[in-house]
């Protein structure tokens, strides 16, 4: 069976753990518990008749004073960059996360999640320019979570 490593990257408290919990366990917990270090979850999936075990790395969120160890990035086939749509600074920090990830994995695939979209108004939603690699997501409302992961996995396997 193929095994692929993907990382969830982004600032702290953007909802990386919640997205994984929704995707792997189809569950949601509203309380905030900071992730420290890294926790790996597994998900089996079948894409184009290929069975695949996805190893999802839930990595501690970046803060201004704490950077992610580079060894976490090594060997990853893909990444999901997660931002909180209600905290502009997490969106502004997106490029920095991409830059570091691609410096370690130049040929890896990636998608972007503008998370906590359930808190946006209809007008605010329209302001987001999306493409096939960017998603407005909500782990709470289970919005676009499956699409987010599947898009990345398909890209990685193609």
């Amino acid at each position: 069976m193929i095994r692929k490593k993907i990382l969830l990257l982004g600032d702290f408290n953007v909802g990386k753990t919640s997205l994984i919990k929704r995707y792997v366990d189809d569950a949601f917990d509203d309380s905030y518990l900071t992730t420290i270090g890294v926790k790996i979850s597994k998900k089996l999936c079948k894409i184009h008749e290929i069975e695949c075990e996805i190893l999802i790395w839930d990595i501690e969120g970046a803060t201004p004073s704490k950077k992610i160890p580079l060894n976490y990035y090594k060997g990853a086939s893909g990444a999901i960059f997660v931002t909180d749509v209600n905290r502009s600074e997490t969106i502004e920090g997106l490029e920095k996360h991409k830059e570091v990830f691609l410096s370690q994995n130049p040929y890896a695939s990636f998608v972007t999640a503008y998370n906590k979209a359930d808190l946006l108004t209809t007008v605010q939603r329209e302001n987001f320019v999306l493409n096939k690699h960017t998603f407005l997501t909500s782990a709470k409302e289970n919005e676009n979570v499956e699409s987010l992961f599947l898009t990345l996995i398909k890209e990685m396997l193609s």
Partner: protein, 392 residues
Amino acid sequence: MINIPLVMNAILSKNVFEYVLLDKSLNIITISDTLNKYVTVTPKCGENILEYFSELVGLEEILQEILVNPSEIFTLKTIAKNNHYIDISVEYYNESTLLMLIQNITDVTCSQQKLLQHSNESLLLNSTLQKILDNQNVYIFVIYNEEIVFANNHFMHYFKVETIQELRHLKLNFYKHLDYTLNSYHALFDRVNSKEEYIVVENDTFILQASLIESTHQLFTLTKITNLSNKLQYDTLTKVYKKEYFKKQLEKLLLLEEEGAVIILDLDNFKHINDKFGQKIGDEVLYEFATCIKENIDEQDILARWGGDEFLLLLKHTTLDNALLKAKKLCLMIENHTFKSIGKLTTSLGMAWTTENDTLHSVLLRADKALYESKNSGKNHVVLKMLKKSKN
């Protein structure tokens, strides 16, 4: 043949490290007894380590390279695994064997996690408070030890900077905007504390207020009232201050026992212009006259329209000689100026120098008398009227 498990158990601290020896293909050669706690199924010799430690998936090449680079050590820190936190390191053991060490760091990581949780919650709270302050329709800055330590976005954008560090580099000396003689934020605070002051920065007028935060930090808030102030303080025709504003500033100068020059000036034969060219042209001349004067005085000087063609000028932070020189230059400048509608004109100036016993009335009266003397002695010049010294 070395008894590897015996040696390893002797070397490694009890219950702190676990180890696995791996061959080139990352298959398990031998394993410490207590490794079971990190995995749900007990690993067996000959099985691939990736079946039990999926943390190493994707790293196969990196790990195999260690066999040819004995000095390399690959480390993955703070991995959550089966209710434990571990550090994993893989290093060279011999030319065909890798040593994988697993260190249990659960206790210390749980403590760090609590601190991190607290720190992140504080960061979120700070971020929220910052946004609240940024969205206030006032300009806020906080001083600690004579340095700006916080400013909201409104304040930073006003001075065209993005960060506090940039703001500090500007060396604003903001207190100078209120009063040129102030030399510290402490002095500014003493002046403003528990009351309101009007402060002019560039072309804007603000209400400045101050309060203490925990006795060490001084909070200053500025409310922009430029539009309102313009309506209330400025003469609509000439765009210079109204006499009420001038009087307030002069009163403040006298209250602080500072020295300055009070000048009353008007256009010579202005009535004749109004009669000959009409009021519209007269108004244009007044505007042009006020603009010329305004452009040739310093930022801290105050020009106001008293009424008709009479203007008031307050020269601050200067000496008597310099003030007199400036008044003469203004007189000459008007004489040399060609007014758009009517050509040449002259002005007469009456000047008084403030003294500590002066009142608003006394100093204005003296300047008015000086102007009268100037008019009666040929116009187009400056007359200075000093207070007669008391015989005492």
